[in-house]
C-alpha cells in the first residue's frame, strides 16, 4: 500500500494536454481534449497498469470526465434503479448516527476544505487506505466554489457501527467498503463520475488475480467482475435534499430503500439545501458477473 502513497505524488507530465496552465480545470472541457484523453483511457491495460496510469495522471478530473460515455436522454432506469429493501431498526441506527455526529461536531464544524482526506475517523487502520480523492479533482471543485462537500463516517474499519456492518454483509461483496455519507446542511458535491478506487486499489494491491486482470474501460471494472456501489438512505428524505443523476433526480426516499446506479458513466451530484442533515449508507465492493446485483434483481432483507 505504501507504493500507492508514493505514486500519488508522482505526476507524469507527459500526459499533460494543456500548454497553458490557466486552462486547467476550465469548464466546459475542450471536447477535442476529452476525445484524446478518452482514446488514451480506452487503451488495453491490466488493472494494475490502470491504477498506475490514473494515479500519475496530471488531470484526474479530465480523465474522469472523459471516462463517462453518458449520452443525455438515457433512460432513468439505466441511471439508477431500486435494488433492495432492508427492513431493520432504522430509528436506532439514525439515533446512533446523530449521536456520533454530535460527538464529532460534524454539523457545527463542517469543513472539508483540505485535500487529503475527509474521512471522519481516528483509527489506525485508516492509514492502510489511500486517500480516495485525487488532488486535481479537489482543486477543480475548490476553483468552482465547492468547499464543503460531505463527511464520510467510517464503518468497515471500525467497530462503531456494527449494525451497519451487518447490512454490508447482506450484499456478499468482495473487498467491501462501507461509509456513511453524511451531508450536513449547506453541503454540495458537484457533478462527477466515479472510479471507486479506494476499494479497487486494495483489491489490486492484495489480489494478484485482480491486479493482472484486464481493465475494462467501458464498465470501468476488472474483466469478469463488476464493482458495485449501493446507496441506502438511513432516514426519510427531507425537502431540500437533492440528489441528481444528470437529467434525472432521486427523491422522496425512505430508510432501507437501496438503489444501485451507473457510477461509471452517469454524472451525479448532491446538495443539502434543506434544514436536516442527510445520511446515506454507501457500500462498495466487487462481485462476479453472476451476482444478483449484476443481473439487476431486487431483494428484500430483514435484519
Amino acid at each position: 500500500m505504501n507504493s500507492h502513497y508514493k505514486r500519488i505524488g508522482a505526476v507524469d507530465e507527459s500526459q499533460n494536454r494543456y500548454q497553458d496552465p490557466s486552462m486547467l480545470h476550465e469548464h466546459p472541457y475542450d471536447p477535442a481534449i476529452l476525445e484524446e484523453v478518452r482514446n488514451d483511457f480506452l487503451k488495453k491495460r491490466t488493472c494494475k497498469e490502470f491504477i498506475d496510469w490514473i494515479d500519475s495522471h496530471p488531470h484526474y478530473d479530465v480523465v474522469a470526465e472523459a471516462s463517462s460515455q453518458y449520452i443525455r436522454g438515457t433512460d432513468v432506469n439505466d441511471c439508477f434503479w431500486p435494488c433492495a429493501e432492508i427492513e431493520t431498526d432504522w430509528q436506532a441506527i439514525n439515533s446512533h448516527i446523530a449521536e456520533y455526529a454530535k460527538e464529532e461536531e460534524l454539523n457545527t464544524k463542517f469543513n472539508t476544505d483540505y485535500t487529503e482526506e475527509w474521512r471522519i475517523s481516528n483509527m489506525t487502520k485508516q492509514k492502510s487506505y489511500v486517500p480516495f480523492r485525487h488532488n486535481s479533482e479537489l482543486d477543480n471543485q475548490h476553483k468552482h466554489g465547492f468547499k464543503k462537500q460531505y463527511q464520510l463516517i467510517e464503518v468497515t474499519l471500525t467497530d462503531t457501527f456494527l449494525e451497519i456492518k451487518a447490512i454490508e454483509d447482506l450484499f456478499d461483496f468482495h473487498w467491501a467498503k462501507t461509509d456513511i455519507n453524511y451531508q450536513p446542511t449547506s453541503g454540495q458535491f458537484p457533478r462527477h463520475v466515479d472510479f471507486l478506487t479506494t476499494g479497487f486499489k486494495r483489491a489490486v494491491e492484495f489480489d494478484s488475480a485482480i491486479a493482472n486482470a484486464e481493465y475494462d474501460p467501458v464498465s470501468k471494472c476488472p474483466v469478469g467482475w463488476k464493482m458495485v456501489r449501493i446507496l441506502i438512505p438511513s432516514d426519510n428524505w427531507a425537502p431540500g435534499q437533492l440528489f441528481s443523476f444528470e437529467e434525472h433526480s432521486w427523491s422522496n426516499w425512505r430508510p432501507g430503500q437501496a438503489i444501485n446506479f451507473s457510477w461509471a458513466h452517469c454524472r451525479h451530484a448532491t446538495a443539502n439545501s434543506g434544514y436536516s442533515p442527510r445520511s446515506i449508507i454507501k457500500i462498495t465492493g466487487l462481485v462476479k458477473d453472476s451476482h444478483w446485483l449484476v443481473k439487476k434483481q431486487f431483494k428484500k432483507f430483514t435484519l
Binding site: A32, I71, D75, S262, A264
Partner: protein
C-alpha cells in the same frame, strides 16, 4: 447506449463523416459543421426513432476548435448490459 457504440454506428453508416467531425461533451454531440449534424440527426431519427434537439454551440475561448452545432437526445434506447 454508450458514446463509443453510438459514434461507431454513425461512422459506419455515414462514411463521409470523420471521427474528428464530432465529439461528446456533457452528454451531447458537438459538431464542427452544422450540415453534418443534420445528417446525423436524420440518420438517428430513422435508425432509432430518437427525439433529437439540434442547437447551436456556445464556443469557449479555451477550446482549440470551433463547433457550429450540437445534438442532444430525449429517448436513448435502454441498455441490456450492466455498466
Amino acid at each position: 447506449m454508450k458514446y463509443i457504440k453510438l459514434k461507431n454506428t454513425i461512422l459506419k453508416k455515414l462514411p463521409d463523416l470523420d471521427k474528428d467531425d464530432f465529439h461528446l461533451l456533457e452528454g451531447k454531440l458537438v459538431f464542427k459543421n452544422k450540415d453534418k449534424s443534420i445528417q446525423v440527426k436524420k440518420l438517428l431519427e430513422d435508425l432509432y426513432s430518437l427525439d433529437i434537439v439540434l442547437t447551436s454551440t456556445i464556443n469557449h475561448p479555451h477550446w482549440d476548435n470551433k463547433y457550429e452545432s450540437e445534438l442532444y437526445f430525449n429517448n436513448i434506447p435502454t441498455e441490456k448490459t450492466y455498466a
